[in-house]
Symmetry: C2
Subunit: 416 residues, 2 copies
């Protein structure tokens, strides 16, 4: 086979894997595969088959992470790869699971090509990254990093089943999670492959990209309160219209993000009361979410948001409540590992385009354990978390190719 035919062939294998496991889903449109369910169990059986085909040794850890390890001495330094098996409700066939399938296929390809690696590789299929079933997530990577708060085991799903009980029912050992913590000295790093979930690679005509950082996030709850009144009898002069104030804030939040290349700012929710056609709105609540790969940029934007909201409230005679309700710092990827990944992409003919990840991933939790890097794969129209989510077999093949080059190039370096 020519070089391109090899890439095409492995891409086709990946597409077949993903199509098959996409059928392991609750009924309904797209893929719905929640953690510690029958669908999860059936998915693990499928992934176990992939891992065994790649000659990996398979076991399920106490936190529900399925681990396929290449044959290597127990003391060998270990490179971690992988992503999550679960999906959102009515999600797609790529988010998460693609990052499990591709490294398994890359290892199978290297095995077939007779390439030996001087380090162990473990491919990890985490149970729960999306946080759909329980109001928590990232149990598997946090267990490895030793950062899991055991209190989350008491959180319950919508049926009232605790996370602990769900894990016990699944045959896991939630009380042994503490033993899973890895010694950072034994871990080379973690490389996660994920669909981009955005349109940047597609716009740039690139199949693959290198992630510079996982953006930090902050969310603010804003409430403007004014005075209602009859839309016919209340003169414009002196109105204290909470929606007019809120509209000004939506405009300014958008302007703020457009003025800063790396900031994303979104008003996702807005409700106006009393909400009748002929009454001035007196009570408007809205949410503002800010994301940036640089915490300083994000925090300055958060401060600007508060200043803007106060100015608007003053000029419209409104009472203002504004509070930051959530924040999560940015997680920069490891620069050395990222440069190494970029070189691997470039060896496949890719530009090695660098971009930030606006969404959170398992890598953000594993960064507490080891250097992390991420590769993004182009997805059609930037769509994710929807049945239409799609990455082409050719792009999957290119990603496997880049992973192989990453591994063989790493083999030629002295691993840290």
């Amino acid at each position: 086979m020519t070089r391109n035919a090899v890439v095409t062939d492995w891409g086709r294998r990946a597409s077949q894997y993903l199509a098959k496991i996409a059928s392991i889903s609750e009924p309904g449109a797209g893929v719905t595969r929640l953690p510690f369910t029958n669908e999860h169990r059936r998915a693990l059986a499928e992934i176990t088959g992939w891992m065994q085909t790649a000659n990996l040794e398979v076991h399920l850890d106490a936190a529900g992470t399925l681990i396929g390890r290449s044959k290597a001495p127990k003391s060998a330094p270990t490179l971690l790869m992988g992503s999550h098996q679960d999906s959102v409700r009515h999600g797609g066939a790529f988010d998460g699971i693609m990052g499990v399938a591709l490294p398994i296929l890359a290892l199978e390809r290297l095995e077939q090509e007779g390439q030996r690696l001087p380090f162990a590789v473990e491919v990890l299929a985490f149970a729960d990254e999306e946080g759909v079933r329980f109001p928590t997530a990232l149990i598997g990577p946090r267990a490895l990093a030793g950062s899991l708060d055991p209190a989350v085991l008491e959180m319950c799903d919508a049926e009232g089943t605790s996370l602990r009980q769900a894990m016990l029912d699944f045959g896991l050992a939630p009380d042994k999670i503490g033993t899973l913590r890895r010694d950072p000295a034994t871990v080379i790093g973690y490389l996660e492959t994920h669909i981009e979930q955005g349109p940047v690679l597609e716009s740039a005509g690139q199949a693959l990209g290198v992630v510079t950082a996982i953006c930090g996030i902050e969310r603010h709850q804003v409430r403007f309160r004014g005075v209602t009144g009859h839309a016919g009898t209340l003169p414009m002069e002196g109105r204290r219209d909470a929606l007019v104030g809120a509209a000004g804030l939506v405009t300014e939040v958008n302007r703020l993000a457009h003025a800063n290349k790396t900031l994303r700012a979104t008003v996702g929710t807005l409700t106006a009361l009393p909400g009748v056609v002929n009454a001035v709105p007196a009570d408007v609540r809205l949410s503002v979410e800010l994301r940036a790969p640089d915490d300083l940029v994000r925090e300055q934007a958060g401060q600007a948001l508060h200043t803007i909201a106060k100015t608007i409230a003053n000029s419209h005679g409104l009472d203002l409540n504004i509070a930051r309700s959530y924040h999560q710092p940015a997680q920069p990827c490891d620069e050395a590992l990222t440069i190494h990944l970029q070189a691997a992409l470039q060896a496949t003919g890719s530009q090695g385009l660098r971009l930030a990840s606006g969404a959170t991933h398992d890598a953000s939790a594993l960064a507490d354990l080891c250097p992390v890097a991420m590769m993004f794969v182009r997805c059609r129209d930037g769509v994710s978390h929807a049945p239409q989510e799609y990455a082409s077999a050719d792009d999957l093949g290119s990603a496997i190719d880049a992973l192989c080059k990453f591994l063989t190039a790493l083999a030629n370096k002295s691993p840290s």
Copy 2:
């Protein structure tokens, strides 16, 4: 008694009347008195007492309007006065019913003072102006004007009772409404007294004002549709955020009204979907209501609204649906009658301030029959349709004084 003591005394009578009838209400905060109910029946008994005290002859017409007529030949030209007995849910003690009580007391005062009028006066207590129980209103004045569409009798309330059945159960004769039509040649005009429901008189330090016109109304339903996406992964560039577009429209609608002294413009409702904190809004619906005393001003604003919405949709890549869902032309008050009313106000020491009515009133339906004029009474903080609605006894007394001067001055003119 001195002049002021007389005014004070009659104002106190009016306050007592209004406090008493306010107790005829469904349970709950404020006044809830809906048409063709037990509360309506008890209110009619109370108003009948007021009318009889003023030496008026009382009857209930086929449409449920209680009519108190001064003793005069059947063929005498007739001046109509009055307003409505019903309230909104949890409304106040003044809206509507005050315009019934004050002319009755004015006629009682003239009677006591021995003033004879060369025309008949009828005080009308209409059943339903608010349109809370049935999806229609103004049955009484439309019956007099001959403009009632009998089809509305088939409209049902929330319990499924038709308006016809409710009227029959109340002892009325809905099928005889056609006979209520008055001959315009016999009617001098209609004068309605109402609380302002706005803050203009209070700001100007005036107890009373003269209405120039009842504003025309138009309502538009606007829908912007864009594309949703993950608030973290979707770059700002190229977003099609329906809420950013809608916010721009809210701002422009407000600007439009501030740029025109007589226009009132309100976005009363706004909903944004999918409505989650980390997703770009893709579907926003909002309502725009425009009111002006001049139809041309209002219609030009409506056209400007459509132009602005299209410009916003184009610049944000949004699909736009916009439609005018309702309109009602402005109803100018009769200039001769209004000048006469203004002179009466000025004779009481009032400035006779002229202002438009942003809300609709029974007078708008009676304008199809005869010349109409309206007097507004100052209300506290501009609040109406709420339990806090309030007009002072002094202001009620001033209004009665102005009504007496209006009637006696009209008696000295040759009625049309």
